[in-house]
Symmetry: C2
Subunit: 439 residues, 2 copies
Amino acid sequence: MSKNKVKIGLVGFGVVGSGVAKILLENADSIEKRTGIHLELSRIVDLDTTSKRPVEVPKGILNDDLDALLNDDSIQIVAELVGGTTVAKDIQLKILRSGKHVVTANKALLAKHGNELYAEAKKNNRCIAFEASCCGGIPIVSAIRTGLAANNISAIYGIVNGTCNYILSSMTSNDEDFAVALKQAQEKGYAEADPTLDINGGDSAHKLAILAAMAFGYDISLDNIFIEGIEDISIDDIRYGKEMGYALKLLAIGERNDSGKISLRVHPSFIGLSSPLARVDGPFNAVSIFGHAVGQTMYYGRGAGMMPTASAVVADIIEVAMGNSMALFNSQKTDPLDSSLDSIDNLICRFYIRLMVTDAPGTFAMIGKILADHDISISGILQHEAHDENNTVPAIITTHPNRQANVTKALADMEKLDAVQSKPFCIRIVDVPEDRIDD
Amino acid sequence: MSKNKVKIGLVGFGVVGSGVAKILLENADSIEKRTGIHLELSRIVDLDTTSKRPVEVPKGILNDDLDALLNDDSIQIVAELVGGTTVAKDIQLKILRSGKHVVTANKALLAKHGNELYAEAKKNNRCIAFEASCCGGIPIVSAIRTGLAANNISAIYGIVNGTCNYILSSMTSNDEDFAVALKQAQEKGYAEADPTLDINGGDSAHKLAILAAMAFGYDISLDNIFIEGIEDISIDDIRYGKEMGYALKLLAIGERNDSGKISLRVHPSFIGLSSPLARVDGPFNAVSIFGHAVGQTMYYGRGAGMMPTASAVVADIIEVAMGNSMALFNSQKTDPLDSSLDSIDNLICRFYIRLMVTDAPGTFAMIGKILADHDISISGILQHEAHDENNTVPAIITTHPNRQANVTKALADMEKLDAVQSKPFCIRIVDVPEDRIDD
């Protein structure tokens, strides 16, 4: 690849595509000063060639002719910013087969069809670079691939979805309901009109699949990840958690336990306020990575948005243009996860349980007996003297560490009690690992 | 460079050298799985060949013969971990001239003789990689060089010295004097027997010189950096700051102001508790970097220690072995700083001023007049009703933003007052920039 001038193509001229075009057009000189390479945006392909974008591109470079881009041998790197998992997949395959490198922000596509795409890239001696697929502008992919390459990584604990973090932060600081916080997030542009994939944890799982595959060296599919979203979180849970000294975050967690099994999960998590992750608020993302040599490291920044995501796309374009990515992106060997995957049933952690109970003699005795029957030890109890018209009161129980399978059974037994008015609601209390260095 | 097996030499087998040897010997397989490259530690040179180290190395690879290493053409990369700026410089030059790449953690050497060494590297078509020189295991060099390469970087705000941060954190949380906290830091291994270079800000300045040169694209020498250490911080200042909602940190700051001038400074700084940097405690380091596209990003982790530093050295060895570093490390063009350097006199910020004043009528009027004469507006005043035997009481004044030059003159005038018992003590109140994205 020429070390001086590298021609770039874009497929997809939406929000992120506009940001990438803006950087390539406005920052070409400063990037050349920094890297010695002049990046030239030479073609943009989009079905919509007429809408006004937040950037003006040179006349004639925007059209809807993908084939013309694929057949243009002067273009060496193409950013696929179409999104989705069908058309985008076809486009990436075509780009690779036409002998060009792919740069993408498409986490859903990589999480779903990554292996097929990486194989096609290898076959064509090209690479797929995807810094922008995880946590927007935070250089987290390169941190795992290169910065921490000397480490055995034992755990990833991440706040990787800005929409959820914005909603949970708003609920916490404004003492407001989920629905109110969601509406506000939509008004401010931090949540989509259809926020499902964000709030149900799916988007976080896509990112976890990508990061955990690199960190642990396994093929990871979405099916391997236990996923719970934030849809059912009530302001009461946040209030009670706050009272007990916890912040509520949607965490994406990948962990290698002492017997070498890999646990992969996305769920709402109460974390102690002393953890650096507890202080990550609003639309920001942060990922803590634990390595055997480095201990705890954390990476913080904006996980979404036009310019932060474009920052990561262009960083990848630069890496590929410099010839740095070929070795990196095609070198890691991954194993099938299969028997190394730990089941969520084996998860040992503390639990927060909220029960809506009838305030009557014997209620707590029955609940206590169920917990005892399942060998679950109570760590704390919280019941305020407030009753609704049905004489129902929320009772909070926190447990000492126990297996998920036990707790699941205990919750099912509790639900059967007459005194328990609705499905018990449970949130995991997550102890973010201590910073530990193996020397 | 062979993509399969790469032979590594070490010069300097002290603390960090031992950590590097440990990782290279124990993690060769996992690194090969991740990168496709087998790293072989083939020679270690140290004058001391007999002391027991925390790692056992294969028989015969440790000796005191530098020339034998230099003449061994099978070795492609050498980590210089001797430290200091005299012998180490000579060794790095010899390594480069023998056609090998250099990996180093030696911030003092790079800050002092970087340009000469980089020129020698270019001449020999080899590179000097120095991730480990700044903030130990935090991959901050690679974040600036690659992850944020698409950005115009406007500012670096960093806690880059773990010794100082440990001391200030201990003083704050244990309400103890500087001397007590320093002694404890020494006992725990967080401060050297001679802590001068850490606590006087010199070490932070070395790191700022390296990071700011990359971020802003200028040749930066230590002389360009305004430096104040933490030696004179009293527990009183920390207490008063806490009362006003500030945490005290030694910050290394590099900033490009609106007119394009570069401000470079290391000094104790009161920062608001809502800044992510305010929550970085103990021996940890963190660096916030502000880019025009990405907004605020922050990188957090252990800034020193055998294994965290070794983690960064080996990360660099891997990058160089993969052939990734040549382009990166030899490509950036830097300009002379000269007329672009902003003087500390032009710094505009808020100030915390502690005066030991005689409790007598008219004292505050005189102080107020001096501030008014210099156009300095008072933001807050704090004087507790406690007096020592000399009828002296500490009075704290905080100012609205003003120029350093004005405040310096006002402080000199105040010192001349009979009612002011000792040199006025001043700490800058630093408003860490808002996260701002230019779109």
